[in-house]
Symmetry: C2
Subunit: 413 residues, 2 copies
C-alpha cells in the first residue's frame, strides 16, 4: 500500500507494518493507520473525484488502507443520501440542517462501511472465515458482506439484540452465538474464540482498519456538501469506533487540502449508558456504566474504542449530549414525520441530541449541522411501534371508519 | 408535458388529457400513458444519460409523465444496485444471472418508485392529502415519500400486514386504517373513503401514473447492463402493476432505439394465490382466488391491474411459474447465503421462480436472467426467522460454546 505508512499505537506510539491481519499494539493500545498524505495528494484531486462513476465507499480508494489491486467488495456500501431538511431546521431553530441517512446501506446500517473493509482485508489476508462480536449491526453487516464475498462468519451477539438484526444474521447464513449476558461478556467470549480458532478478527476495537471504513461517511458528507464545512456533525456514540472514524475522515480531508477547517463533533449518548460523554464532562478517565437504554446499538457499558473516541471529541472541541429513551423515541417520530427518514433508536440518537442542544440554546440560529442517522428503523420494529402506537383497526365498512375517526378525534377535510 | 400525448384506455381505447389527477376510463378500464417518442428521441440520448449526475429514478425525466418544472421528490428513490451473481448462476445452471436489489430504496421496496411519482403528481395537482390501500409496501412508501414532501396521508392496509410495514407507517405519521379483512375489502373501503373526501388517489389500479414510476426499474436495469438485453427478467406478481410497469419501461427503451430487442418476462406468483398466471396458463379470463401465501405483498386474490399485467406477460412471450411458500423461504435463504441480499418473501418470489424453471429445464445453460428483488426482508422478520431458524443461545463462556458447537455438529477448523 503506497498510500499507507504504518499502524501507530494511539497509546505508546509504537509503529507496525500495515499487514492485512494487523490487530492491537503489544501494550494493548489500539493502532491508528497513518497515511502518506504527500503521495495521496499526487493521486487524488477534487476534479478527479467529481468525474468518477463509482458511487460507493470505494470511490475514495486513495484514502483507504487497501492494495491498489484489491477490488471493491460485492455489496454496494456507502454513498448514502444526504438530505437537506429545511422544515426540520426551521422547527429546531437552526440555520441549516442536513440528515445523512446511513440506514440506506445494504444491510441497513453505517456498520456496512466497516464490514466491507473487514471483508476486503480478510481477502487480502487470504482468510476464509471472519468473526466478530457486536450489539447487532456490525454482526449483520459482516454476515451480509461476507456472504456476498463467499466468506464464512462466526458472530457473537448479546441475547438482547433485536429480532430484525438476528433475522439478518440467520438469513445471511452466519453461525450465530447469542450470549446471555452484557455486550462486554459477549466481546470477551468472541475474543477467546477468535484466539482459539484463528479467525480473521472484525472486532472494531482490535482491527485498526475498521474505523478507516467508517471514515468514508465523513468523506461523503463533505463531497455531498461540495466541501463546504458545517459547524457541527452529530452522531450517536457507543463503542467509540464510529465517531473516531468520522473524525479520521475529516482530518484526512483537511490534511490533503480538500477542506479548509474542521467541524466540531457532537457526541450523543443515551443517559442510561454514557461512559464516554461522562469522561469528557467530568474530565476524569472513563469508567464502565450499566447498559440502560433501548438504543441497543449504543448500549455499550465498556467502550472498546474509548481512546480514539475521546481524542476525536476533544480534538474537535466537540460537544457532548446525553438523551433519555423518551427523547430518542421522540426524535424517531420527528424524523419520520418531518423527513420521511426511519431510523432505529441508536440511529436517531444524534438527532435527539441536536434537538436537545437547540432547546438548551447551545446551538442555534447561526449554526449549520449535519446529523448522521446510523441505522434503519426496520431493524427494531418493536420499539418503533412502542414509540408511535398502533393503527386504527376496524372491519372494512364506511360506518366503522366514520365512528373510528370520530372516536379518535380525526377531523377529515 | 411535451413528452406525453395522452392517457389511453387499455380496454376501449378512449383517450384523455393527461391531467395530474387522471384516474380510470368511463368504461372502467385502466388508462395507459402514451408518449411522443419522436419528441423524446430529440431530447434523450445514451451519451447524455451517461453524463448525468442524478442517481435516482428522476434521471430518466424525459421518459416520465411529469412537467419539466417538476422537481425530483425529496427521498432518493431508485438507482438500486444490480449485482452480477456468478456463484448463484453456477448453482442454478444459468449462463449469467443478475439480481436487482430494489429493497435498497428509501422505505425498502420497489413501491417507492410509484409513490414518488404519486407525490410528484399530487404536488402538480395542488393536493395536500394522498391516500391509498395496499398490502403494505405501497402504503409505507407513500407514507415516507409524502412525509418528506410535507403531504398528509391516509392509508388502508389489511390487518395481516407485517409489523415492519406498520411500524414504518406509524413512524411516517400516516393515519392508518387496518382493515380486518382481505386486500379486496381493504381496497373497496379506501375507494369509498377517497370518493367521499376527495383525496389524491395513489391506488395503482386507478392512477395511471404509478406504473410509469415503476417502469424506472426497467430503465435502470438496462442502463446498468449497458443496454445489453438479457433473455429473461423475473419478477413477483400480485396486483399486476409492477410487471406492467417493468414491461412499459422496456417498450419505451425499444421505442426510442436504446435497445434492439425485448426480453421475455417471467411472472412469478405464489401457488396459493396465482390468478394472473392461472389465466395465462389456462387461456381463460382471470378469476379471483383466495390469498393463501405468506408472501403478503403478492397475496392479491383480486388483482386490480389484471389487464395491463396479462398483456405484458403475453406480449413479451413470457413464462409463468407458481411457487410454494416453502420454495419462497428456500429462495430467501439462498439469496441471503449466496448473495448477501435479504429479501422479503414476495421480494424473493421471482428468484424462487427462476430456480424452479432452472430445475424444470425450462431455462438454463444458454440463458441470461435478471431477477428483481422487490422488497427488503427486514419488513417481515417473523417469516425470515421461521425460514432460517434461531441462533445458538448460551451463557458467555468457552465451555458452553464448545458443548453447543459439539451438540449442533458444528466442526470449526
Amino acid at each position: 500500500m503506497k498510500n499507507v505508512k504504518y499502524g501507530k499505537c494511539t497509546r505508546c506510539g509504537k509503529t507496525y507494518e500495515a499487514v492485512p491481519d494487523l490487530t492491537v499494539c503489544e501494550c494493548g493500545g489500539i493502532l491508528d493507520i497513518e497515511y502518506d498524505y504527500g503521495y495521496i495528494k499526487t493521486r487524488l484531486t477534487k476534479e478527479a473525484l467529481a468525474g468518477r462513476g463509482e458511487r460507493s465507499m470505494w470511490r475514495y480508494k486513495e484514502l483507504l488502507p487497501v492494495e491498489e489491486s484489491t477490488a471493491p467488495t460485492p455489496l454496494r456500501v456507502g454513498w448514502s443520501p444526504l438530505y437537506e431538511e429545511s422544515r426540520l431546521a426551521e422547527q429546531l431553530g437552526l440555520k441549516r440542517l442536513w440528515v445523512k441517512d446511513d440506514g440506506q446501506n445494504p444491510t441497513a446500517s453505517l456498520k456496512d462501511r466497516a464490514s466491507a473493509m473487514a471483508v476486503a482485508k480478510a481477502l487480502e489476508a487470504g482468510a476464509d472465515v471472519i468473526a466478530c462480536s457486536s450489539t447487532g449491526n456490525a454482526a449483520s453487516s459482516l454476515a451480509g458482506n461476507a456472504a456476498a464475498a463467499g466468506l464464512k462468519t462466526y458472530i457473537f451477539v448479546p441475547s438482547r439484540a433485536p429480532k430484525g438484526k438476528v433475522a439478518q444474521l440467520m438469513t445471511f447464513g452466519a453461525t450465530v452465538v447469542s450470549v446471555q449476558g452484557s455486550y462486554e461478556e459477549t466481546f470477551e467470549l468472541s475474543k477467546a474464540a477468535i484466539e482459539k480458532w484463528g479467525w480473521y478478527n472484525r472486532n472494531a476495537a482490535i482491527n485498526p482498519y475498521l474505523s478507516e471504513g467508517k471514515k468514508t461517511v465523513a468523506l461523503e458528507i463533505m463531497e455531498q456538501l461540495d466541501w463546504q464545512v458545517p459547524d457541527y456533525i452529530a452522531i450517536s456514540v457507543g463503542d467509540g469506533c464510529t465517531i473516531a472514524g468520522l473524525w479520521k475522515g475529516l482530518k484526512d480531508l483537511h490534511a490533503i487540502g480538500f477542506i479548509d477547517r474542521l467541524p466540531r463533533l457532537i457526541s450523543a449518548q443515551a443517559e442510561g449508558c454514557c461512559p464516554l460523554n461522562r469522561a469528557i464532562e467530568t474530565g476524569e478517565p472513563w469508567r464502565p456504566m450499566e447498559e440502560n437504554t433501548l438504543a441497543d446499538s449504543i448500549a455499550v457499558g465498556v467502550p472498546r474504542n474509548a481512546d480514539k473516541a475521546l481524542n476525536a471529541i476533544r480534538e474537535s472541541n466537540g460537544l457532548t449530549v446525553n438523551v433519555s429513551d423518551a427523547e430518542i423515541m421522540a426524535a424517531q417520530k420527528l424524523l419520520g414525520r418531518t423527513c420521511g427518514v426511519f431510523g432505529e433508536p441508536a440511529g436517531v440518537t444524534g438527532t435527539a441530541g441536536v434537538k436537545k442542544l437547540c432547546e438548551a440554546g447551545v446551538i442555534g440560529r447561526n449554526d449549520t449541522v449535519v446529523s448522521v442517522v446510523t441505522g434503519n428503523g426496520l431493524k427494531d420494529v418493536a420499539n418503533a411501534i412502542a414509540a408511535c402506537g398502533e393503527p386504527i383497526t376496524i372491519p372494512g365498512d364506511m360506518e366503522h371508519l366514520l365512528s373510528a375517526f370520530a372516536e379518535k378525534g380525526i377531523a377529515v377535510d
